[in-house]
């Protein structure tokens, strides 16, 4: 597609439920990132995928968080047993390859845990 697409745009879930957030990167972009922005905070790095390399999971806040990227394209971020502190905007970004240019963000998924 023309841009990075994320779905759903908004998600309200009950505490303890699992959620899946989806990211469709720009076609041909080999690098994909997940960030989140909690209220009043900057963007916090979660995980990075580059081609077929092992992902950099160093930003995942707990083992309740996981992500996969199938076929080098679509990525899914899964949060198990959601907690209220997981409420945030989850942003996905992609870029053509290594280096710091060309980072395109999606519009994000606003997750609210009640």
């Amino acid at each position: 597609g023309a841009g990075v697409s994320q779905s759903p745009s908004n998600k309200v879930t009950e505490k303890g439920k699992d959620v899946e957030l989806r990211c469709d990167p720009i076609s041909g972009h080999t690098a994909l990132y997940w960030y989140r922005q909690s209220l009043g905070q900057g963007l916090e790095f979660l995980i990075y995928f580059q081609g077929n390399s092992a992902p950099d999971k160093s930003g995942l806040p707990s083992d309740r968080f996981s992500a996969e990227r199938t076929g080098g394209s679509v990525s899914t971020l899964t949060i198990q047993r959601t907690q209220q502190e997981d409420s945030a905007v989850y942003l996905c970004a992609s870029k053509p390859g290594q280096g710091t240019y060309g980072y395109t963000f999606g519009s994000g998924t606003r997750l609210t845990v009640v």
């Binding site: 990075v4 690098a31 990132y33 960030y35 009043g40 905070q41 900057g42 963007l43 916090e44 790095f45 990075y48 580059q50 950099d56 930003g59 942003l91 970004a93 870029k95 290594q98 280096g99 710091t100 240019y101 060309g102 980072y103 395109t104 963000f105 999606g106 519009s107 994000g108």
Partner: protein
């Protein structure tokens, strides 16, 4: 401990005047610096960047200044326009790495007509 700090949560300026947004970082190993702009309900968009070998980069109304000795980065917008009203994030990285960026908390700029 935050590696990138934007100490001003908000800034209000009059249309036509200069907007100056500031950012401080702690690690002298960072060598690539970026500014992103974010409108409500949209993802951040890249605005301008600078590498550590420069101290200034200009793109139209936007200029980024880098003071490596002070570990300080600033974005100047002149003249400011109402459409510039948005949240501005500075971000830092190490050139040639995975491209992982460390962001500041953001500064909300309001440009009044």
């Amino acid at each position: 401990d935050q590696q990138v700090k934007q100490n001003s949560p908000s800034l209000s300026v009059q249309e036509g005047r200069i907007s100056i947004l500031n950012c401080d970082y702690t690690n002298s190993m960072f060598d690539y610096f970026l500014w992103y702009k974010k409108y409500p309900a949209e993802g951040p968009t890249f605005l301008i960047s600078i590498s550590s070998i420069k101290d200034k980069n200009e793109d139209g109304r936007f200029t980024v200044f880098l003071n490596k000795s002070a570990k300080h980065l600033s974005l100047h917008i002149v003249p400011s326009q109402p459409g510039d009203s948005a949240v501005y994030f500075c971000a830092v990285s190490t050139w040639g790495n995975t491209g992982k960026l460390i962001f500041g908390q953001g500064t909300t700029l309001q440009v009044k007509p």
